[in-house]
């Protein structure tokens, strides 16, 4: 396999990025990363990705903000917490992956080969509105326009699940909608200060 390296010039780096990430609650101990590679060694998805968590953290340290925020790694992180429980520096890696996703969404940086952000936001919208998630409308909204082929592939499974009564057509909603919505609205507002979006 040909190895392609991109040369970065110092001017393209963001010298404040590392400090910003390290200042987040999720970034606690990030300064103590010893680049041991334990995280990448335990991570079930990183062998299929360009950046292991270790590499991503080296990139953060180097100030490669754009490359970090557009990396597929946080989006493909499955939240398995293997890395978090094994990291000798006690870095909350999984939480840091969430923080990087939120940051990327907020800055409008898209990962070129993943649109998981659309899926996550769609899910959030449904829950913020109804109080309960609903697989069918989520999958429909996510796949219909952008992934019609994949949707067809999955239709067999979807229909089978429906036939088994495991994919209800209608969703439940919370009953006390008024107070629920007040809470959600406030949380969205306060979350935006934390770097979240709607």
């Amino acid at each position: 396999m040909e190895n392609q390296e991109t040369i970065l010039f110092e001017g393209e780096l963001d010298p404040t990025f590392f400090d910003e990430v390290a200042a987040l609650p999720e970034g606690a101990h990030l300064r103590s990363c010893i680049q041991c590679g334990t995280c990448g060694g335990t991570c079930p998805v990183s062998p299929m990705l360009p950046h292991t968590p270790r590499k991503l953290f080296a990139m953060i340290r180097a100030g490669m903000k754009d490359a970090v925020l557009s990396s597929p790694t946080p989006w493909v992180c499955s939240s398995c917490y293997e890395c978090t429980v094994k990291c000798p520096a006690e870095i909350k890696i999984t939480e840091l992956m969430y923080a990087l996703k939120r940051r990327a969404i907020r800055e409008g940086v898209r990962c070129e080969d993943s649109d998981a952000d659309r899926f996550l936001r769609q899910f959030t919208r449904i829950v913020a509105k109804n109080g309960r998630s609903h697989e069918l409308s989520l999958l429909m909204r996510y796949m219909m326009f952008k992934h019609p082929i994949q949707m067809l592939k999955q239709t067999g499974l979807g229909l089978r699940m429906m036939g088994k009564g495991r994919m209800p057509l209608f969703s439940h909603k919370v009953r006390d909608k008024e107070s629920y919505s007040r809470m959600v609205e406030k949380a969205l507002e306060l979350g935006a200060q934390e770097g979240g979006v709607q």
């Binding site: 998805v45 493909v76 398995c80 969404i105 697989e135 499974l157 994919m167």
Partner: protein, 295 residues
Amino acid sequence: MRYLYYPGCSQQATGRTYEESLRAVAPELGIELSEMDDWNCCGTTTVMAVNKVLALSLAGRNLALAERAGAKELVTGCPSCALSLSKAHQALTDGSAVGAKVKEALAAGGFEYKGTVKVRHLLDVIVNQVGLEALKGKVRAPLAGLKVAPYYGCQVLRPYPQGDDSERPQNLEKLIQALGGEVADFALKTSCCGGTLVATRAKVGNSMSSQVIASIEKSGAKAIVTPCSLCQTTLEAVQRHSKKLLGHKVRIPVLTITQLIGLALGQDRKALALQRLLAPKACVKELEMRPGAGA
């Protein structure tokens, strides 16, 4: 034993087999579950990636409702719900800045959480509270000769181990043995099934789940048991593509802990929602008709 019960969204949809079989076995185990009134989605791993305060508030509202109902413990069968609820409990009790924001959001909806509720996963309750001896006493149709693969997945163990050792968990093994079954040994017991990636990164997700299936198949297991409804669905669904992914067909039924218990208690397929499994009828039948089932 009375518990306040938090079902979680998937438990009443894709994970219906889990909830229905739970309702069937709980009374026999002396567990009385009362479903929490007007619960909402825990936010799971998904909302956390979009808005942290919202994610923690969603889980926090459930904790507040549980506290309001006077519950000391809140039981759920979904590991992901247990994780989200535990995370919110931590944020709301550790004096952190984000915790203060979550409190403010809760207050806007008229909720308050003082921090008195302990979140417990069902597997922990069954093994450590009901207890293995009591469980053994209820077995009418022991799983004799049935080799069962104990598949934990991630979130029942990490980062908040639910009444078990996160490195060397034993609860599922103990459960299988108490029910008279044989434990299948395989490497990927606590590896991720990739279920969260099925929609957004199907290739990676399928590769993870098919590896788990391959590892289980090698062990000679005739059934898989899991404490997680997402794992249950994922491991079932990926076997539909086993020919393509692994080169040959694999058909091993994937049961939730409550379905496995129900089989050993001699309960019937309807009660245990076995007809809702994706595995071919013949495989499920084999489980029901196994020698020693007595029924």
